[in-house]
Symmetry: D2
């Protein structure tokens, strides 16, 4: 699908979306939504470019056809590595969250989990899912992967909550399908998607059986309501002639609170219903794929921030100061460490029973754990180099005022040969990524997307095989077996 | 002066201020400015409260009268310590930059520098300044301390710039005074001030003589133009019924670009004019006092962020999780380390030749250096604990929409007994301090206010007496004298 | 007492000490013990020097006589600050642990705790202790403060241990005194002390009553056995003509395992016996004073390491490289941050009910918490600058071999004008402090002395008044009282 | 070659080695050398074990025979990855530096550099080297890769030094070969090697032509003198019945200063002689391979330290404390981050013109940069968990003394079921790795081996393609081409 076709295809969806308290008539042209649509659009646009073909497309294992890699079921560690590289590339092109990874990660987790669930329970989810996913590949759809429930009181399990809907659940079972109720929070890119694939958010026990449900439906299925989350500086996009102050005029991301008010799901779209013993596997696999993803996309966004920071130093006339050079080295070092983790967990991936490839769980969690730290330090260094002007700059409206412009042009100029406007643009881009709309993606999402830091620590504890390390230590220390 | 009298007194000023491209008719009631006015207002309001009298007021060394401590010339290390404590207190009350420290720090630097300059050059700046400052104390004025020039190409000195106005300078000398031209960037609280006291921004050499100028004038002196700097999320204040989304509805800070377009300064208001050999002293002393300040105010702001973070954990039902408790300990630890540095450089202060007290330069720089780091880590931990909802929350306008409110109320509830609204308020406050309007003060200003990190490192290198440490090491190592 | 008198006075003690499996006949001249004796000796020697009189001596509050500050009961915050400065000074002079702080800190904790215990229980420990301490001041004794019990299984309280002696306890009560059994681990400077003052190591409950015991006895009291702890590189001191390879030939520290095998303590030397409700206060106060101490001594040792590192860079010809200068700035920055914390908790000290001055508990714990981190980073930076030669240098025995010396002299030379020997000396000093005998004090003791890191975190949690911070946050966020 | 054969083969070498000032008659049985021999021995021993065959052996690209992987010329990225895994494995088995990587890394760098040099200069070094390396593979030799010159004044180039021998150089050219003079410092494993392969240590210019020399000779070639570097706690190996106090009795590493006093090198062993324009390539390639290596071996050593630390917590009865678990997670997280970097730079390797595989230079430098940091933090956490007893334990000689043993056994016991001896063994192992002989390898070598931190930063600066990142940023910011 080309970018324009994608946009056209979305127009047919009759979504129930609210932004800033008002129902959105046309999600395609809404100024607050548009930049995030553009980011998703890039996943289509770049797939058409020959230069990026190898990274952006793949050959479907289901149909043998050439497909967008975002809909690919990974067939090798090489596929896993290309995924990370594609994500870094798109991060460099959009400096934003391009939103389409969640569905890709959900699909690959669903593919192997349904297979193993079928083997254990004699269900036929894998076939259902495979058919469904062929359709997704065929239509080149964007699928929102929806995992995070509101959770209410975090100290309680789904069935212990005072309101039973705090985790999404089956409220009715019919012959032709199920009815579900609940909500999913922080739904990245939902408004730009064709479909939503719902998964449980935690490993569950028998008491939570009705919460162990996974399925896919169209985003405009009756009963689905989306409330657009607000971001730092979001309404700058509504300002007259908004450009400079946006930092990144063209691209953005978004997240929404999605309510499922008694939504009907037909049988062929159900991929788990009650097999609570597989909810943990699905969560863990999705999370691991998604933790790998962050080793790609956030590096790409980091690349832009490094570039912007280097330019700001240049425009200030300090590019050659040793402390500036050293800080830019540090930014690169941290960014490439993230990338190394993304590559390593891909390269060490393994084939699942279902035949697709799964990342190394330990290293994927290590990857994400670093993502919860380094973008913050990279941002801090960017703010250090950019200087205070980044947050004290006059607005574009001041700059557009002919009485004020000469003063701004004169006094906010950096080195000769660089216009004050360009200097403002770079500083606004850094603001966008460290404090503004993109900071939501580059910082907070780096922290909590694909699971908060503690979730990774729990996984690292489980996967690190400390028992083996103790045995090594005992042997070296001369401690006898059995002691 | 009471808070109301302060506000009244500002109304008499006929300032030339622009916000978002438009000239401001009434700075007192402008919704974007008002929160910052409220912060300054607290320096008056709290000085009236008996509970805070000891910290908020002092006995003038010039007049013997009780004055607001923000206008005090420090008479002891105890005064220096009380200054820090007052700042922490105000940070706790406003969660913002309360803007009035700059003038206090400028005055104390000017007091001792003019004294020593007079001794060296036979000038009479100290007397002039003292008379002027008596008037400030008498009228309980807010004085903006204006140091930072735009600087243009940082690789060049003032006189080497292609535009000679990139540093503020004397363009004309008359019998009754001087005419100055240039600009000062990042002027904290300028729009809420009665007066502005201008200082040079770097140590200068003879070639830069005309840039070595210090003086005070009223903020509405003809030729002074202020362009209000925009902050992250600033226009949320303009939204209908803005409250929850502001995070901190009542308080804020601001910074402005201030242009001096051929401003006349009468002789009695000139405190330096050409004594370039004292520009370095003035800069260093102001900077050191101001670096001390950050060991107070940023701790107070940090206290609020810690409190908000602890509440967010409580509302999520995770307050007792060991990793949450540990992170809150870490936030406190870092915050108290900053405070320790603020206290230490005060306690180790020394009397100057002029009689007022000056902080320990080395420790003040160490203090500020930590301030360029720890608030970032405290913010990161706050974002960790707060969770992703902080940046994906629906807007207040959604919450005010009666169709959406039930869904938001239902699904964004935390533990029982806490309203969704209160949970939103706390998350918005954390957003305000880590990504929003207050992040400008808590993060970027912590980085660059009172000098960027490298400025402190240069001072640490100069002050750390490594030669003495080498001698200690040689003695221990058994290396003979002279080798 | 002069240094020589001190040494003489120790000779009279008939201690039961073992080093490397052998009973020590003469602790004064034992080559492994001697450097640590020299460090304690400096507390006497420097007290005689006029230059250091103000820091090293004080006027006794008990007798009005001039005493060594190490025996002083602090009378003001100024005394607390001078204590820290004295410790930094001695750290600079010895580059080691000078061991005498423990008794000073124990005495000040005992002074106020016995007073409050007497008030609660009608005991007369304060008078007993005061009389005892007058004697200590009069005789200028070194007192080992003994707190840490072996603890066995850390998951169990004293009375729950399978061996009841894992915490020191009263095993018999006689009319004229008590008999105690148990051990104290990590006893710093014990072998160089005249007396040992024993304290409980944790807050206790009624079941542990017999463990709530505090007293003082002479180090040669029958039943006391000391086993000298081994340190990294300790036996280099035994090598022929040992000098260069020691790094620090003259000074060192030590710690010993001290066994109390049914030791009799006369009534007048008992300062707590069963008042378990005061064991926590004694522990907390001692720990806080001792955590303050580390903000002094470790900075002084750090000063020597910084000096040695700067020299090593100079000898390598890289002193002017920007990354070297920057790392030395960082070392100073971290070291002065520690010092700031030491100063701050002193300056914010308060008078106790008994009249002596006690440090600010929160800030003292913050101080020590930083000490568990920064010396490690300072060491890392020292190793970075020193270069690998520090751990690949030939031995002094090689250097003394006339066949090898020309090669070593030729090939291990740095810049012209500095002898290879001096270069080796500096590298060995850095080795000594980062990997060798002094690393035990500079690193591990920084970590665990005065309580391991987690102990400080527990205290920070208790002292940081997060409730107040929550109230501040609620007010700012607009959350109503009661919610 | 089996382990025994290896040891036998070394006996034939007539090396000129000095340890502690004395000439070593038999390097095989010298107690200080033996543990390091054992480490190298493991590279033979494990290659015989079926379980490890895939990692430890490879098929020679030169002869088609099965060879030890340490002599392999890498034929794929899979080979590069297996190299890292083999190194981690050996680190786990020895907890030491096993010394044999240097030759492997030198060979792979030499293989491709000689090829490219021949193409540029018409020399025939590649053929010579290939023949030589076939012999190495055939004989399963250990080859010491010798790069680091003493360097004298680091501020000066080789030819600018006041002593021309501070960098190894050609002093005579004969028909049948060359004569070289100079020294190589920090020669890891030299005494356990059959051969030494010498390389230049920096990129050179024409003036340094005589320093641009690479060759291989037997370690007992006349004129070669080795002085064994001393390590922390080295002489504990000489103590009677040394066992517990060693921490790691069986394994160790070593480094030596190697003097080349007019050593003759026959033509067929010369691989560079004057082609100064290829010295930089050889250095960079060797360094990059070697920086990759550290992503393997140091992780393996780290695994043992993690295991030992977990055991120490268990023996103390605190294994379940949340802060302990969290610190062990952090240790694992850091260690796996290093491993990820090792894997990533391998997986992203590329084929060279000569046909062998070369790591990704940027990522290999990023890998090593992390190695200069994380082992220090892992060590710090180990010391935190181990507790102070690690550095205050009595010696084994005390433990062997029947009078003292009961006290030590009683009082230093941890939880029930674990002997005091085992607890001591684990603490001594941690001491060994953080302060003792193995700390030299785990800490200082992590810092400086394969180049000091700044060397990697210079490479990161060169490789990070900041220009491309600037272009990305300009595009996003809306800055026009050409501006």
């Amino acid at each position: 699908m080309k970018r324009d076709e994608y946009v056209e295809s979305l127009k047919e969806k009759n979504m129930d979306v609210y932004v800033m308290g008002e129902k959105v008539e046309d999600t395609i042209t809404h100024p607050i939504i548009e930049p995030s649509l553009n980011s998703v659009g890039m996943t289509y646009e770049m797939a058409q470019e020959e230069e990026y073909e190898e990274l952006m497309t793949a050959t479907s294992s289901l149909t043998g056809k050439k497909i967008n890699r975002f809909t690919h079921i990974h067939q090798s560690t090489d596929d896993l590595i290309k995924k990370v590289k594609m994500q870094r590339l798109l991060g460099q092109k959009t400096a934003s969250c391009f939103q389409r990874c969640v569905g890709m990660d959900a699909a690959n987790a669903m593919f192997s989990t349904t297979f193993e669930c079928d083997q254990a329970h004699g269900t036929n989810y894998h076939e259902r899912f495979t058919k469904y996913w062929e359709m997704v590949q065929e239509n080149d759809w964007v699928v929102d992967g929806a995992m995070t429930d509101p959770k209410g009181d975090r100290g309680k399990s789904p069935s212990q909550q005072s309101d039973p809907d705090m985790y999404l659940r089956v409220v009715e079972r019919r012959e032709d399908g199920i009815v579900v109720r609940g909500a999913k929070a922080h739904q990245t890119g939902m408004v730009n998607s064709h479909e939503v694939m719902v998964m449980p958010t935690v490993a569950m026990k028998e008491a939570d059986k009705n919460y162990a449900v996974a399925f896919s439906v169209s985003v405009d299925t009756p009963g689905i309501l989306m409330i657009y989350g607000r971001q730092s500086c979001d309404t700058r996009k509504l300002e007259p002639n908004a450009d400079i102050d946006l930092g990144n005029k063209q691209f953005g991301g978004h997240e929404a609170l999605v309510v499922f008010e008694d939504v009907f799901v037909p049988n062929e779209r159900i991929f788990m219903d009650g097999e609570y013993d597989f909810s943990g596997m699905l969560v863990e696999r999705f999370a691991s794929y998604h933790r790998q993803s962050y080793g790609g996309c956030k590096c790409g966004v980091g690349d832009v921030l490094i570039g912007a920071t280097a330019l700001s130093a240049e425009y200030n006339g300090v590019a050659k100061a040793s402390h500036i050079k050293d800080k830019i080295i540090e930014m690169n070092h941290l960014n490439e460490t993230l990338y190394s983790c993304g590559i390593a967990c891909s390269c060490q991936g393994k084939k699942t029973a279902s035949g697709n490839y799964y990342v190394d769980t330990l290293l994927a969690n290590v990857c994400k754990q670093n993502v919860t730290r380094f973008p913050y330090e990279i941002s801090r260094l960017a703010e250090d180099i950019a200087g205070g002007l980044m947050v004290t700059l006059p607005s574009q409206l001041d700059f557009d005022n002919p009485e004020l412009r000469p003063y701004i042009d004169k006094y906010l100029k950096g080195i000769d040969g660089v216009s004050t406007e360009d200097r403002m643009r770079i500083l606004r881009l850094i603001e966008n990524m460290t404090l503004g709309a993109a900071a939501v993606g580059y910082r907070t999402e780096s922290m909590h997307g694909a699971g908060s830091p503690q979730a990774q620590r729990v996984m690292i504890a489980r996967q690190a095989n400390v028992e083996h390390k103790k045995e090594c230590a005992k042997k070296i220390a001369g401690i006898k077996e059995g002691s």
